[in-house]
Symmetry: C2
């Protein structure tokens, strides 16, 4: 396997990581994901890592990279389904996944994304209202 | 890896198959999926096989089994993202996946499931209306 499938779910993209992310696979995932965000105009990326039982600094960095890349393209990233042992390992490795939102499971992650996007939309509305007031 | 993660998405369950389904993995998936359908009261199961490039009769049978098991538990199964080569192989193997609904991608699969569940609900309503008429 040289590709991890990216599923489109409305405004969101969903990635389920089930295998070890070795170098080429991780780079392919990064490239595919930013292309998909661009092509589908996605507002959020959900990364499910419930099948990941072993995590290392490389994997932590890849997740951080994906979140940063998506953020630049105006999409939020939420990591869901982290095993307790993985959370322990990440902290012990000194990788607190800064800038990455997390949620316990898929549904909560989806709700978190929706709430973040709603807030963003409201911000935009607010801004446009302000503009209206100024032009009046 | 000895488990394929099953994600809950509202009334649906989502399974992404990214690796070869060898015996134990396939049996675990069947068992986990029927348990999840039971536990979460799911009305539909989406199986994404976009990462599957090679299919054999075993895999065809497993998908058929999952669909039959889910059907007994009152959940519909839709297989999405099949590669053209996989479709060719399945037919050449004499496995037309009878009783399994298919859709081109995740979004169409989700819409198909929603429409099937709506129809089911309407059937129930229709039946209850008929009963009302008889009792009057």
């Amino acid at each position: 396997m040289d590709k991890i499938p990216i599923l489109r779910l409305g405004k969101f993209l969903l990635v389920t990581i089930q295998v070890d992310l070795y170098d080429r696979l991780a780079l392919n995932l990064e490239a595919d994901l930013v292309q998909m965000v661009n092509k589908t105009n996605a507002k959020g990326v959900l990364i499910d890592i419930s099948a990941v039982t072993i995590v290392d600094s490389f994997m932590g960095r890849i997740i951080g990279n994906i979140a940063s890349m998506s953020k630049i393209l105006d999409a939020e990233t939420v990591v869901v389904g982290m095993q307790p042992a993985v959370a322990i390992t990440l902290i012990e490795l000194g990788l607190p996944l800064k800038g990455v939102h997390t949620a316990l499971d898929m549904e909560r992650g989806m709700n978190l994304l929706k709430s973040m996007i709603d807030i963003d939309d409201e911000d935009v509305d607010q801004d446009s209202n302000d503009d209206d007031i100024i032009t009046e």
